[in-house]
Amino acid sequence: MAADGNTKPPKKLSLKENYAMLTRGLDWEPTYEKKEDIFQKIDFEGIKIHDWDKWEDPFRLTMDAYWKYQGEKERKLYAIIDAFQQGNGQFNVTDARYVQALKVFLNGIVELEYASHRGFCMLGREFPGAGPRIAAQMQSIDELRHATTQIHAISQYNKYFEGMENFPYQFDRVWYLSIPKSFFEDACTSGPFEFIVAISFAFEYVLTNLAFMPWMSGAAFNGDMSTVSFGFSAQSDEARHMTLGIEVIKFLLEQDPANVALVQKWIDKWFWRGYRLLALLATMMDYILPKRVMSWGEAWTIYYEENGGALFADLARYGIKPPKYADVTIKEKGRVSHEMWSVFYANRNALGFGIWLPSEEEMDWFSEKYPDTFDKYYRPRYEYWRQLEAEGKPFTCKVLPQLCQTCQWPCLYTEADDATEFVHRESDYKGEIFHFCSDGCKDIFDDEPEKFVHAWMPVNQIYQGNCFLPGVDPTAPDFNPMAEALKFMGLKPGVDGGLFKEHLDAKRWEQWTSRPANIHEGAYTDSVRSTETPTPRAKP
């Protein structure tokens, strides 16, 4: 049918061929400008790439298919979010404690998705190969999707609960939000290869399953259809990103044997940094979810020890070893969420969400899930604190904690082999002493001290007087540095943090829903109808 000499029927293209035709060969060797002037950021890290064409695109998505499938996912997701909002779904969750987790999520995680979007976008500009550039761009716009859908899904909660209304402002200032902020800024300020190893591999491939699968399943279990829908919808993109993560690693390792040592160093650094970041999620899973799907300890066993173990067994053929200090994470798995919740409890007046002590029933669950640690170390502490609360003099930390120069958590972790001894490491750099929560964090600092001395450390900033709003007079007789620092951070003293049973969210929840704000404690107020039969209040 076709004209002269063009008579063969059109060839049927497979997915791979179609992708290759439409994508490969789009780039070219520049001749009018020097390649090193176009791609300026690719050499300084020391990674050697001999042939960018050896890159295998892990997902062969052309834009038409991308729009089609992503459009379909978005239609489904927004149908659920719309229904959730129209049906006042925020009142269908288990109790008002669950909403405290969403505050950690919105205030701490949305901005990470955003940072990831910008970071991958820079990679989408800087990689000299078309394949990796396109892969990075697709991930970049996916991450923009995640920031967007998270805000949209949680927006409804903001209208009924405290502590979410100021999230971008808080992210730049709140002391514990500097943990996630510094994590991603560390990655984005690194070179492109370190960024992609850090985020695509160490963080997404090795660690995010742990966060998203049990956590999102937990959101569903607690009746939050809005969050679970965006969570799972985001995860379907992550599955593609994880494939990118493993492809990147293989590509770097196969390109030059000299890359192995650098990649190993980054895996060690970012595994540890990611693990410390996830301590936030450990507390969300173990403490904030009113109904739990699995414990942090169980999740670590399944997703790191078993699935991560398989991954590192596979990478052994390249000479890659499991991350340094992975053994410490396993030793800490029975402790990390409890240690962090204790930090939050002690510093609850400086938080953006309400805090409570676990009930008898919850402590029994911990005893079962953490047989080696909970009854020995944490139950007695909680029982003592509960007694102090009953006596009307709840335990509070009065001094600002020493922060780790690397991960920015308070230095309140315990020694890997001794849960009664706080870890304290330090390094002397140019005559100044820097403090660390762990050997992992100290090693990271020691490798790049010039980078980490520039960290914006909230506690140090408060002491230096940099955390007060304009017009505040530190010499005034009624000057309260703590209250002023909280205002600077965008936290409302007496509203956002404190004991959950006194929290506005708890009071309003009971007034609005006639259900207990904490299903494990029974009603806090008289608003809960007598027809309800709340779980009996735990005995002190």
Binding site: S14, L15, K16, P58, F59, R60, A65, Y69, E72, K73, K76, N209, F212, M213, P214, M216, S217, G218, A220, F221, V228, F232, Q235, S236, E238, A239, R240, M242, T243, I246, V293, M294, E306, N307, G309, A310, L311, A313, D314, A316, R317
Partner: protein, 95 residues
């Protein structure tokens, strides 16, 4: 290609009407697979290698299935991916 590895791979889907035929097909095609159900999600673990076949899903769904549709409800996976029109394979290459 067969693998010698017995290291676990997994694939996880949202638990909904669209994924029933996918999950049934995977369970039919992978005798060593184990189904783990959690609230709102289904995780399928399998030692070494797991294959998702378009043809089997099409049979279970009663219609032509485009394998890329699995991405709409996919939550996560572990293992190296090899993907074509007909098969989506997850596997580890080493023991």
């Amino acid at each position: 290609m067969a693998t010698n590895s017995t290291q676990p791979v997994f694939i996880a889907f949202q638990d909904n009407n669209d994924t029933r035929p996918i999950i049934d097909a995977i369970m039919a095609d992978n005798p060593n697979a184990k189904l783990n159900e959690m609230p709102a999600l289904v995780k399928i673990d399998c030692p070494g290698r797991l294959v998702v076949k378009r043809e089997t899903i099409s049979e279970h769904a009663g219609r032509d299935f485009d394998l890329r549709e699995i991405y709409i409800n996919l939550i996560s996976l572990a293992g190296e991916v090899d993907e074509s029109e007909d098969e989506f394979v997850l596997e580890w290459k080493s023991r």
